[in-house]
Amino acid sequence: MGKIVYTCPYVPAEWVAAHGLVPSRVMVRTAGTSPAVGPKEGVCPYVRGFVDEVMSRNDVSGIVMTTVCDQMRRAFDIVVGRSKLPAFLMNVPNTWRSVAAQRLYVDELRRLSRFLVGLGGSAVSNGELAKVMLDYDTARSSLLAKRELMSGRQFAEMVAAFNMDGPGAVSANVAGCSAAPRGVPLAAVGGPMMAEDLDMFDVIEESGGRIVLDATESGERGICQRFDRRSIGDDPVTELAEAYFGGIQDASRRPNSGLYQWLKQHFEERGVRGVVLHRYVWCDMWHAELARLREWTDLPVLDVGVTGDCEADKHRAANQIGAFLEMLQ
């Protein structure tokens, strides 16, 4: 079966899988270095990494990118221009309160469907979609249920494995989790993390902290809300759209008040005592939230800016995190 790669959380894996194709939401390994995207200056390291990653793979049938981030939207031009792989750009509205925006999201799912069928996917049926949704929902629930037993890295890697390989990756791995780390409860907030960025979680734990909320895009915040199982049978497409478009809160939404409601609820539930904002340089969306986050919460907020230069980033972050946790302990 053809593998469809993407990285945006607003692309529902269930939708791809219901077409008989293999959804694979990639966790970018490292900031890209290829000259395909032009000079490094001004380009988000994650975007560079994603372009490098998808263009270097030979096990892929198609690429799905979205308009959520301007640089990713523009990187689509580069992917189309430099790669022979079929690529699809999905319009994901930034506004969310109007019926028209919600309808546009559903229309884009249907357009994506035509793209997937064009790649050899089968036409989607409500029955198949509902079945796939239930499988994914069950796997997500068991993953989230084990969260407290995992370190920050383990949880992030488990989410990444689920995103990349589907429900099977969860059932095979969650059973072994039993060692809950201790330390000052922290939340990691921000956009997507690259695999190499996960070292930050190790540093946090080595410094006496503990990630109780991974509110990055590649963590819990990038997971769709639970499905209403009663609705799946009646109208799975609407339920899917509601869980993804209505359920994932992001800095890019306009207004993004939903993000703060989500954070407030989770900070309180988890007893968060400090926030680590993980952001890439040149990611305006998250950079702009830093000051607002500091105004909005009474909790201390640490800004970890990632340039994509792994070694330098790591040393800088280690120093910052060490000092941050010293203050909190």
Binding site: R74, T95, R254
Partner: protein
């Protein structure tokens, strides 16, 4: 027509203004010596060189007195709309109502240049967490906080979706500071798929009818918000008249651009043309007067072209300019290096294209909004640039990067590639911050190299 066409300093203009006054020239009330704006804080004006025609004097005065007009409008009980990001769509709707004026808060990005950073707007943006890694449009945040550069609008609209992240993030920051914003969605313009009805948009891009329908529905929401603000209906008849008036401005500018870019001798400097193009986005808070200002400029240019006079010689390098500059002085530098502007794409070509008058008004405006070169792919934009290069006979392209802007990092290479493939002409990319004084020698060197390249190619 002005006697000898040349660019003059601010001091020279003030002396010339006195001569005009003594000669009894009748000018609109807002026209005065440019030096008074320097006394008001616009001290960056002293770095610029201006066209020496009375038409240009009127243009500059019109631009620099916008704040007065906005405050006057408020005093008169009119409602003020701040139309952010859409560049030419919401203002057309707003000016269809007789008790509403619209302006473009994003225009505050030139305040640091014009006031030589003395207004402290960038410092305020810094203090709000929006530092120099963002586009200079961050100055807008400071302008809202100080309330010293425009009155706070009664309604703030902002298009989001297929827009640059800088502006979207800055607008969200503004929203977070307590300024309510009416958000409306502009989707990424895509090519029609098989079976979809394709519509050619103003300017030549093509979009599926379904996207036009979507944008139309968004503009209906905007219209409803404007109606509520104005306390009057914004029906099709009013919109049609509003579109007709906007097209008068656009027609005038189109004629001006064609003459300015294709005349054998450059009849008007790049800087005045940039300001003229800016007027069409939001009419500088007075639609009728902006038309009158452009008409006078057009007459001046017509007479210069007829007389075969202008700036530089006929051998000036013909440059197509992409993206607006944060420091206006750089437009002067181009001419100092022996080049002239023959075509522009300042991010808002859709605000210059005529709005269709043969379809229902909201559909026409939806088509116009979707024709925004920035909501589609950079390759589309580059192809439009190529079409305009052919039309205006430009010999090289200058892409001026806006520091920190999310689109600039990725689009330059795409534009370069498409232009190279289609036209095989030189493309130079430069970066222009709000104040370039310290960089001027380096910028001059690069611009001179581009001019030399053009001249060398002519020999082949």
């Amino acid at each position: 027509m002005t006697g000898v066409v040349r660019q003059i300093s601010l001091d020279e203009w003030d002396r010339q203004y006195e001569s005009l006054q003594r000669a009894g020239a009748r000018r609109p009330g807002y026209v005065g010596p440019l030096g008074r704006h320097v006394q008001d804080g616009d001290r960056g004006l002293v770095r610029l060189r201006f066209d020496n025609s009375p038409a240009a004097l009127r243009l500059w005065n019109f631009l620099l007195t916008e704040e007065d007009r906005l405050r006057q409008a408020r005093t008169e009980g009119k409602k003020i709309v701040g139309a952010m990001k859409d560049l030419g769509t919401v203002p057309v709707m707003a000016y269809s109502l007789d008790n509403v004026v619209a302006f473009y808060p994003d225009g505050a990005w030139w305040i640091p240049c014009v006031m030589e950073l003395s207004a402290g707007l960038l410092g305020i943006a810094d203090s709000l967490g929006i530092d120099e890694s963002f586009c200079p449009v961050r100055a807008m945040l400071g302008a809202f906080v100080t309330e010293a550069h425009f009155p706070i609008p009664d309604l703030l609209s902002c298009s989001v979706g297929a827009t640059c992240d800088d502006f979207s993030a800055i607008a969200q920051r503004l929203n977070g500071l307590g300024y309510p914003i009416f958000w409306w969605e502009i989707p990424h313009r895509r090519s029609p798929e098989p079976g979809e009805t394709a519509i050619e948009l103003p300017g030549g891009f093509v979009a599926p009818q379904s996207q036009i329908e979507f944008v139309k529905s968004e503009l209906q929401r905007v219209a409803a918000a404007l109606e509520e603000l104005a306390g009057q209906s914004l029906d099709e008849a009013k919109l049609a008249v509003g579109i007709e008036r906007a097209n008068q401005v656009r027609d005038c500018l189109a004629e001006l651009r064609l003459l300015a870019f294709t005349a054998e001798v450059c009849p008007i400097p790049a800087l005045e043309m940039l300001i003229a193009e800016m007027l069409t986005i939001h009419f500088c808070s007075d639609q009728n007067e902006s038309l009158a200002v452009l008409q006078e400029l057009l007459e001046e240019v017509k007479s210069r072209v007829a007389a075969g006079v202008g700036l530089l010689g006929p051998d000036a390098a013909r440059i197509f300019w992409v993206n607006p500059v944060a420091d206006l002085q750089v437009m002067n530098l181009l001419e100092e290096c022996g080049a002239r502007i023959c075509g522009t794409e300042y991010l808002f070509s859709h605000a210059l294209d005529k709005i269709p008058e043969d379809v229902p008004p909201l559909e026409a405006l939806a088509q116009t909004a979707l024709a925004d070169p920035m909501v589609g792919s950079a390759a589309d934009r580059a192809r439009r640039i190529c079409a305009d290069i052919r039309r205006f006979g430009a010999e090289a392209v200058l892409v001026s990067r806006i520091p920190g802007a999310s689109h600039c990092a990725l689009e330059g290479e795409v534009i370069r590639q498409v232009v190279a493939d289609e036209l095989d002409i030189a493309v130079l990319e430069i970066e222009v911050p709000p104040l370039t004084d310290s960089m001027c020698p380096a910028l001059m060197t690069r611009l001179q190299a581009l001019v030399e390249t053009v001249r060398e190619r002519r020999k082949k």
